[in-house]
Amino acid sequence: MNHLSEEELILHYYGEEDGTLAAGRHLDECAECRALYGSLQRVLNMVEASSVPEVAPDYGARVWERLERHLPARRRWWRAGPAWRWVAAGAAFAGLLAAAFAAGRFYRRPPAPAVAKADPAAREKILLVAVGDYLERSQLVLIELANANPKTPLDISAERERAGDLVSESRLYRQTAAHTGDSAVASVLDDVDRVLMDIARGPSELSPAELDTVRRRLEAEGILLKIRVLSSTVRNHEGPEAQPAAGQRL
């Protein structure tokens, strides 16, 4: 008598084999296969019993609260009429100018020897704080592009400029991460950097189809998810003592 293979038993358990009746008949007649099948059933039933933690009844509402912060405001911005877009873009540009002016005025480079002499743990924490900030700003640029849903070509010169700034900034973080052996951080930074670089070097106006390509790429490479994962890791590792003084950057 030909016995049933493990694969056939598994397919029978899930009701997916071609000859369900044949396998069932064989199991009725063959004690050896029946014993094997019983063992398989017990293992799979044991796995079935592994529970998932309870979530609060209002979990769905909490998910929506978090999502809403990301979605509607941006969507409204993109859907707004051209006049409001210019007002918003002007305000954003003015904000950037003010921030750049303030940064230039109050920026104090930390003395290099102090960083060089800092112990590796402190150096890593400083890197994480800076990387966390960098990731947050990269995420904002990418989410804006991913959420844009225009019917006509879209002017992305502001995002392009921000992407260019972020690319020049990331080089230092990637080098530091590589130097400290933090290959996971370096790998995500590489992925983000490639996308930002393409945006920075690309055209300042994107057609809906080109935006869709950007969106698909972000999804295919899981860029936003990677940023979120690394940001969450970074947040978990940041200690309060690692927070840099106001205006101080790596």
């Binding site: 493990e6 694969e7 598994i10 397919l11 899930y14 997916e16 063992s39 398989l40 017990r42 293992v43 799979l44 044991m46 796995v47 079935e48 019993a49 592994s50 529970s51 998932v52 933690p53 309870e54 979530v55 979990y59 769905g60 509402a61 998910v63 929506w64 978090r66 999502l67 809403e68 990301h70 979605l71 509607p72 969507r75 859907r79 991913a146 959420n147 849903n149 933090d182 290959s183 996971a184 790998s187 995500v188 969106r215 999804e219 899981g222 936003l224 998810l225 990677k226 979120r228 994962v229 969450s232 890791t233 978990n236 590792h237």
Partner: protein, 186 residues
């Protein structure tokens, strides 16, 4: 009368944020369950749920309604979970997976039974963690979500035969890890 998902999706596609909220509230629990089974970690599962809805929000214009909204969301969440597990494996500083046992309600009447049950669940969690991301995804979709192999293949972007073999490998690994417990737990 409660509206069907299809009706709500129609409104969400027209830009009705309240309609999308309704879909989020309806499907968050089942997506969390799927994401937890695939990631084995509560925080990761919550991140996956959020990311899945973000993707759905962006793609809802392209949702053609051939599958139900729930099936479509489960596919997105499975892909997000797969990305999450792969990304986590690449992380050097991977925090230990959350202990699912600590969050579970007690199930047995005696301390011995509780301890045994907890140990079994711990072993199941460890055995699941030992599966590769693809094996785990294929197994969770087939075993817990009841997807046919063809659908599992679609999520994994592979042939049904390859999906089948991922399930076989997963079951084989789980048997190897868990069969020794059978005599104790039985």
């Amino acid at each position: 009368m409660e509206l069907t998902d299809a009706a709500i999706v129609g409104r969400a596609r027209a830009g009705d944020a309240d309609a999308f909220r309704c879909l989020v509230e309806r499907h968050s629990h089942s997506l969390f369950r799927l994401a937890f089974l695939m990631t084995g970690n509560r925080q990761d599962a919550e991140d996956v749920v959020q990311e899945s809805f973000l993707r759905a929000y962006r793609q809802i214009g392209g949702f053609d309604g051939r599958a139900s909204f729930g099936t479509w969301m489960h596919r997105i969440a499975a892909n997000c979970s797969l990305d999450m597990v792969r990304a986590r494996r690449r992380r050097i500083d991977c925090p230990a997976p959350e202990d699912p046992v600590a969050e579970l309600p007690s199930t047995g009447p005696t301390p011995e039974r509780i301890a045994l049950s907890a140990e079994v669940r711990q072993k199941v969690a460890e055995a699941m963690d030992d599966l590769s991301p693809t094996e785990r995804t294929a197994f969770v979709l087939r075993h817990f979500e009841g997807m046919r192999m063809e659908d599992v293949g679609r999520v994994l972007e592979c042939q049904p035969g390859a999906a089948k073999h991922s399930v076989f490998r997963a079951v084989r690994k789980l048997r190897r890890a868990l069969e020794p417990l059978m005599s104790v737990a039985g």
